[in-house]
Amino acid sequence: MLRIYFVFSLMFALAVLTANPAFAETPVEVLAAIKAEAAGTPGFQGFSAERGEKFFKTKQKHKLSCSSCHTDNPAAQGKHSETDKVIKPLAPAANEERFTDMKKVAKWFKRNCNDVLDRECTAQEKGDVLSYLLTVKK
């Protein structure tokens, strides 16, 4: 009887813990998902952190780049270019919450790419950027 009670409460505790949506994925899993998406495009030859860094720091439309808000050092705290609001570091090495929620990642790529490029980013661009961010040390 006690044993059943024990198993039951353990299951209950587990259910409570796993109901928490944070940290659903790891950055490596997120990268793998983007890779699966990119693999479908003709001529795909893998991601490049170097290309990602260049993309991240190059000003595009509206004189904006990713670094306009996330700064040239993604391990540092950023600042929103319009509102001055503080933005936590983007590099997973400096902020363990980054790239751990697929839905959040997709939402912000969509928004920020639209702000910077007037279009969505390709899977290649997203993969290059994340590959770069994963090389950034704290």
Binding site: L2, R3, Y5, F6, S9, L10, F12, A13, V16, H80, E82, T83, D84, K85, K110, R111, N112, N114, D115
Partner: protein, 159 residues
């Protein structure tokens, strides 16, 4: 044998108590700031201070929420479920002050007659201070804006 049972019981009690504590904490969160409240804070507080609903009437919030894809030059688009949850929260807590009903509702708190009158004593050079940057940057002067406190005792204009 008795000992083993005793340890199992203790463990079960501890685990259960932990579970109960966690659900209590969650219940408190819903009481103070309901689920939609948390979504609002998260989504509408990502690019700027989450402007409290009481500073705009419901029709302004509805119009803002219907145009998030083109939101003051930014893309702030949301999925439909999150958007309707936040809209309901904003409407419920919107300003009920009497105001002129306009054909096109004001979308900026900072353009409402109420805001202008409340801030008429703020000098032009203070608005232009790079430390303020935009009148919408409430937190630059209202040092406790993050906790919803706009009391004049906590105003400090940066110089």
């Amino acid at each position: 044998m008795f000992k083993a049972k005793y340890i199992t019981l203790m463990f079960a009690v501890v685990v259960l108590a932990m579970g109960a504590m966690m659900s209590a904490a969650q219940a408190e969160g819903t009481q103070k700031g309901s689920a939609s409240n948390a979504k609002w804070k998260d989504e509408c507080g990502a690019c700027h201070f989450a402007f409290p609903p009481r500073f705009l009437p419901a029709e302004s919030w509805r119009t803002i929420m219907a145009g998030l894809n083109k939101h003051f030059g930014s893309n702030a688009g949301l999925d439909a479920a999150t958007a309707s949850e936040i809209t309901a929260f904003l409407e419920k807590n919107a300003s009920t002050k009497k105001h002129e009903v306009l054909a096109k509702p004001l979308l900026r708190i900072t353009e409402t007659p109420w805001f202008k009158s409340e801030h008429r004593e703020v000098a032009a050079r203070d608005w232009k201070n790079p430390k303020v940057k935009s009148p919408a940057n409430c937190g630059a002067c209202h040092t406790k804006a993050d906790s919803g406190d706009f009391n004049e005792d906590n105003v400090k204009i940066p110089r």
